[in-house]
């Protein structure tokens, strides 16, 4: 029996090996190259094929993001490439397939370190997991620039990310303006634990409480960013407060939930909906007039500022502790603007 189990285990493990080998062959050229010739300083990655050895004197910044397939990360990459061209540096940009692959990201960070870059840009999926590798970078005097989300460590010189609190405050101001600075409002937030959830809630709530005494926040509920759950709870909110003036949804799923609720209850035009993030359904809702507008982050700005900060660090210049990469309010009026188009992704 034991032998059988052992044999099964061996078979299973070898299947895994084969599978992972196939996977890395097709998708992760960089990893393979790395394993094959460890001493090679540079190796090609998928999109931004890098220099060969003798491109030598250009500084090289290795960027490890949380992903590269999503529109958001592609926009970050565009921004990074733009900065790379402007400041004449070489970059590589890579990330795992989805945002739960912490271990894969660690492998990528390790591979990036092995290439001995001049600087590293890093968006941590899990800041704890990354700390040994970040220390290694620190020991080798490779400056690290954090982007998108902060790292729980003082090794990164700076963090280029959206100020979610300020962005939510802007959403609150827009809401106040749209409902004539009075009435009941409610929030559908994606969660009460994560940094983005907390900041996008508090920024909104505190702005309303401090500046708009005639606006009453009647309810805050959490839908986990789940479209269906958020739809059901936003519907209940409207039932509980039939005279509600506006509802704010703190991310894509939450905002879509509010839109669905308003649509299902035929309250179009009666309830002002303010959203966060982007996506086809939000853009459609704005065009149809169900959603007044939404806040979007500036992913190109995140990429651009990351590379810029790396260049500044390499040139020995001071970099600020945090870089606010900005955000935009978009609505039916400005949606076609160039800078908004760059930040709004379907």
């Amino acid at each position: 029996m034991k032998k059988k189990l052992l044999a099964l285990l061996v078979v299973f493990v070898s299947i895994l090996f084969v599978l992972s080998a196939c996977g890395s062959e097709s998708e992760e050229a960089s990893e393979n190259n790395n394993a094959e010739n460890e001493d090679a300083k540079e190796s090609g990655t998928e999109e931004t094929a890098t220099t060969d050895e003798d491109a030598g004197d250009k500084p090289y910044v290795a960027i490890v993001s949380k992903g590269f397939q999503h529109q958001f990360w592609q926009a970050v990459q565009r921004g990074a490439e733009q900065a790379a061209e402007e400041f004449d540096v070489e970059i590589t940009f890579e990330g795992p397939e989805n945002e739960s692959q912490v271990d894969k990201q660690m492998e990528m960070l390790q591979a990036a370190l092995d290439k001995n870059p001049d600087a590293i840009g890093f968006a941590a999926l899990d800041s704890q997991a990354a700390s040994p590798l970040l220390e290694k970078a620190d020991e080798s005097d490779i400056p690290v620039i954090a982007f998108d989300s902060g790292v729980d460590s003082d090794i990164p010189l700076t963090t280029a990310s959206t100020d979610n609190y300020a962005a939510a405050a802007l959403a609150a101001e827009k809401m106040a303006e749209l409902i004539g600075e009075q009435g009941k409002v409610a929030l559908v937030v994606h969660d009460q634990v994560s940094v983005t959830g907390v900041q996008r809630r508090d920024g909104f709530v505190e702005t309303i409480e401090e500046n708009y005494p005639d606006i009453e926040i009647v309810d805050t509920q959490y839908g986990g960013g789940d479209h269906l759950e958020s739809t059901n709870l936003a519907k209940t909110m409207i039932q509980a407060h039939p005279d509600i003036a506006g509802i704010y949804g703190s991310n894509e799923g939450s905002a879509i939930g509010v839109v669905n609720a308003v649509r299902e209850l035929s309250k179009e035009g009666e309830v002002t909906v303010v959203g966060f993030d982007s996506g086809k359904q939000q853009i459609d809702a704005i065009n149809e007039g169900i959603m007044a507008g939404a806040i979007t982050q500036n992913p190109e700005g995140i990429g651009y500022e990351t590379v810029k900060a790396a260049v500044d660090a390499l040139n020995g210049e001071e970099v600020p502790e945090n870089i606010d990469t900005g955000f935009y309010w978009y609505d039916a009026d400005n949606m076609e603007d160039e800078e908004i188009q760059a930040a709004v992704y379907e």
């Binding site: 739809t231 039932q239 509980a240 086809k280 359904q281």
Partner: protein, 330 residues
């Protein structure tokens, strides 16, 4: 189904079980009424037609999942793949209709067949490969989750350009009446009820759950019937997936995880025993309604969400406790 027998020493085991099941149903139904009365007093906005419609609509997806999984639970099994399985069926519906341009009806059938296929594979793993249901369907849950992301490229599939798709769930065949999704839910209750109490499938479902070995020894092909039962549950998953896609007008590939537990909770509250052998679909329907009335009522009273979860947890504890009391008495 509702035959109450006054003679507890009857040799007909099935009848006795049904009678105690009926008791549980009455208990569950009474709790539902009490909840409705309580919330109507607590909040004047609760007992409005649009809110009731909202409660019914929010019951549909979890409710249909719960109906299907009731079959599996009565056999003494469990199906953890229904949440992400539902997501996969909604993604596949999207692939059929949006990517391949098939007619809506074919797309819907494709979605339901996908659900049936997921159920069939689970059933095959459980009965032929003899993998315990918990593990087999846990694996299926992960497979379905992964496939949804792979097939959709991890981004939502939108039905915005598919005319009338939204109406599958939200339109109403009888103008001004309840949304179709609610109607479909009740039809599924009816179909499930007929299957479970009027057909051979139902008889074998109970029989396998009460005593699998005895069922096998009496010449019934338990393996075959288990596969059929999981496949039926899979069809329900498929219907739930189509309804969710229609209501959200999109297939969201990252949704669905955790829905299986809510559905199982509804089944348990409805009086179906997790140790198998007894249960009812009417009970499950009431269980699902209790869950959504509770959530809706607590929300409408603006009770903080953290506490809503605590309350629902207590309700599940109570339901299982009553189930145990009942077992002791019988």
């Amino acid at each position: 189904m509702s035959t109450l027998t006054s003679n507890p020493s009857t040799s007909n085991q099935k009848k006795r079980l049904v009678s105690s099941g009926a008791l549980q149903q009455i208990l569950a139904f009474a709790s539902l009424i009490i909840l409705v009365i309580f919330f109507s007093i607590a909040s004047e906005n609760f007992l409005q037609w649009s809110n009731i419609e909202g409660i019914l609509l929010s019951t549909t997806v979890i409710g249909i999942l719960a109906l299907g999984t009731t079959f599996v639970i009565i056999t003494g099994g469990i199906d953890l793949s229904i949440g992400t399985g539902m997501t996969l069926t909604s993604v596949m519906t999207g692939v059929f209709i949006v990517f391949l341009g098939l007619p809506v009806l074919l797309g819907i059938i494709g979605g339901i067949v996908t659900g049936a296929l997921i159920g069939f594979i689970s059933g095959f793993s459980v009965s032929i490969l003899r993998i315990p249901p918990f593990i087999a369907t846990l694996a299926m849950m992960m497979i379905a989750e992964g496939l949804s992301l792979v097939i959709s490229g991890a981004s939502p599939i939108y039905f915005s350009d598919v005319e009338g798709f939204n109406n599958i769930a939200l339109g109403s065949i009888f103008p001004g009446a309840i949304p179709n999704a609610v109607l479909i839910f009740f039809i599924m209750v009816l179909i499930g009820w007929i299957l479970l109490s009027k057909t051979i499938v139902g008889r074998y479902t109970f029989s396998i759950g009460s005593n699998e070995e005895a069922t096998r020894l009496s010449g019934i092909n338990v393996k075959k019937w288990k596969m059929i039962i999981y496949t039926i549950a899979g069809c329900f998953t498929g219907v739930a997936g189509v309804i969710m896609a229609s209501r959200l007008n999109s297939a969201q590939p990252a949704l669905g995880m955790g829905y299986e537990l809510e559905a199982i909770a509804a089944v348990v509250i409805g009086g179906t025993s997790l140790s198998g052998g007894k249960g009812s679909l009417i009970g499950t329907m009431i269980g699902a309604l209790i869950m959504s009335v509770l959530t809706n009522g607590l929300r409408i009273m603006s009770i903080p969400q953290e506490w809503q979860t605590v309350v629902i947890g207590f309700v599940i504890l109570l339901a299982v406790y009553f189930d145990m009391l009942r077992k002791k008495n019988s």
